[in-house]
Amino acid sequence: MSNPTAAMKNSRSWLLAGAAGLLLAAVMMLLGRPAGFSAGTLLLSLAAVLGLYAAWRWAGAERALGWMMAAAFVLRLAAGLGLAMALPVHGYDVEPSRAGYLFPDAYERDTLAWELASSGQPVWKAFGDEMRVDQYGGLLALSAAVYRYLSPDLHRPALIILLAAAVSALGLAFFWKALVPGPGEPSGWSREAALFGGWLYALYPENVLLGGAQMREPFILGLSAAAFWAVRAWPESRRPAVISLIAGLAGLAVISSRVAVIVVAVLLLWFWLEHGRVPQTAARRALLVGAGVVFAAGLTYYGAGWLSEAAGWDAVLTERSSGWVQLIVDTVGDRFRVPVVTLIGLTQPMLPGALIEPAAPLARWLSILRGAGWYFLIPLLLYAPFAALTARPEDRRAALGLAAISLVWVVVASYRAGGDMWDNPRYRTHLMVWTALLAGWAWSQARARRSAWLVRWYGVIGIFLVVTLRWYLSRYTAWKSSLSLIEFLALTAGLSALLLAGGWGWDRRRSRTGLRRGSRSPARPE
């Protein structure tokens, strides 16, 4: 027999969620452009809030997760709606900005979606347009469907922002559920890793800006989080896992088939890392390696040509837009163009550039936030593989695999988009679920081991930032003391090496002293 008090509480909480949905609808109708009542906005707001609430309850209804999801959703919405209002006034004098879009792709796709919605043509027409626009496909069809059925009278871009923010925030429920075991479930990754990773997912500036825009990335994130959970939950909850996996991958295939292929590859590896065992016999090991090679070959065949062509073009664009890159390529030679551009891509969005380069105030603040987010994350990613190498044997394989997935993807994104300070960070977010987990795990490891290495990696990045800042200052201010490329590299590498070597020496000394004094052993080395 059900408990009447609990049932009442339950009903009340649903009513409260419904009220929050109504409140959101009211805010959307007030702040959205065009303002005014819209049944579609009301419906979508209610669906978004109730859906998020349901997901929160499903994922364990922990307060921390609730705050995380709420923050993710509200921040994305605020960013999307705020920028739609601010950009026409404070943005650059270009068409997307004048129309209130931060991302030109979002502007292009959203405009087409509205055209398609009001054209009377079937929305699936969106799938055949790659030749005409590069913003074709599932999101175009989805956006057109939303406009056609929920806002046929007026173009309300805020509806897609709302949808994107909700799907992106929904991903957090899957992320959390995958990592923090519920009562009676087998243990997962540490709660601290899930907390840190979850907050990173929620607050990482690139995620927030993309999550509040008519872009593919928030959908990719939400859907890949669903597939991520499915793989984790496979042994215990097979049926829901299958449903979630199929739904996530199908959604991804519709939104972006190329990303779907990448995510499938990562999921296969992830499945093996989580649930697979190293085969005992040589024949089975060979079979496994063979299967991996075949899959990799297929993936290469499918994507390498496209990737290298796209990378070639982006390398051109990077070099075109940066005298700095031209100087480096001229110095090291043409044949190193792609490695150079890839390396420079890893530094994007360049925080010192954002601080110093002339830009409109709004654009500057956005660049600073994006750069700060990336430079906060880099040391965690640098520290993670070393921590993985020295992790407990039972954790090592998964940690190393996770580090490999995240770091390889960061490099691939950089190779693909080079120094493009928009595309490159955007591609990075495609595997943000894994990156956030890796960062969270690295953070939790650093704390558990009381390791100074994470701080040292922050030191290395700090050195790079200071030296680069000096270069930008000399370029954009009256302070003329420019460094040559060699001096720049030597100074950064020298100081970083000093810091890392000094840290290593310090740890050894402390370790010896500790052993001599018979104190308990210091934290595991990295």
Binding site: D129, E130, M131, R132, V133, D134, G305, W306, S308, E309, A310, G312, W313, A315, V316, E319, R320, Q326, D334, R335, R337, V338
Partner: protein, 376 residues
Amino acid sequence: MRIACIATSQIPSTTANSIQVMKVCQALALAAPDADVHLWVPGKNETPWEQLAGQYGVQAPFTIHWVPSQRAFRRYDLIWSAYRAARRWGADLFYTWLPQVALLALRDGCPAVLEVHDRPTGRIGPILFGQYFRQPGRKRTLVISHALRRALEERYRMRFPEAEIQIAPNGVDMDRYRDLPSPSEARAQLGLEERLTAVYSGHLYAGRGMSLLLGLAEAFPQVNFLWAGGQPDAVERWRGEARSRGLDNVRLTGFIENARLPLYQAAGEILLMPYERSIAGSSGGNSADICSPMKMFEYMAAGRAILSSDLPVIREVLNEDNAVLAPPEDLQAWVTALGGLLEDAERRKRLGEMARADVLEYTWDNRARKALAPFI
């Protein structure tokens, strides 16, 4: 005015696209006498102008820069290096066959002329062409046939603004076709047997109707069939094929320098263009529905009777008044058509004169003048 031309054609080579690039650059130099024309192409070694002039039949010199390019970079290294060099040189106008270059120029506020000879290929080429299309700026798109324009407009579901598009079939350099000898004199100069001759010039790729030509040679043993052009391996293969069929009226010359090609074409009473329904180009792909063969204009300029496949795209230029058109790949129809022409010298003369008059509209100079008009 400084005109920077950027192409991916290998120069020197025997490909039609390299010939087209060289002809266009010469025409640009002639069309705008005050202009300085520079061409950037892939390659490591410079080739002396004299050698190029002979091979390509070009007289007016222009500067060529060879830019090292690695295959792994899929020509993007060439695109950037050439574009950057041209910018440094101070180019006022970019004339290119690459949408990527046109896109870069337009983004940098520089006017651009883009020649389009086929539907964009590659993985991101089509997308970049779409971007070029939408990119505002002073631009002109030269499309080689109405059929190609329609194909592009259909594929991209858009319309070229009339002010920005020029239907620009390939052309001919009329100077090289002035004062051509009669067929008999040309045959004498070339040391060919004196009898009625049908000439085919060009590559021997798939889709060019080579089997049909052999069929015609079998049907008309009294006529000489002169094949001028082709890569050495293809020439050997078709020579063997002709020998195996016991045909002694087929003569394959192999590659002929472009400067000497008019003489070979002049050696025929009839010029043949037996395209099939599917034509392989030097860069691959099927171009039967959108092409603009250079040899068609050369044939017309030669003032000889033309017997050609009746393809819609060919009909953009040829018609019953200036050529005889027969269904592609239909040997019997071709035998009938060629037989008719062989018997009627007066008709051959009339068709040749009309073709020569009609081709004046299609000179490289005219084409270049029209392309440059909005920018001069």
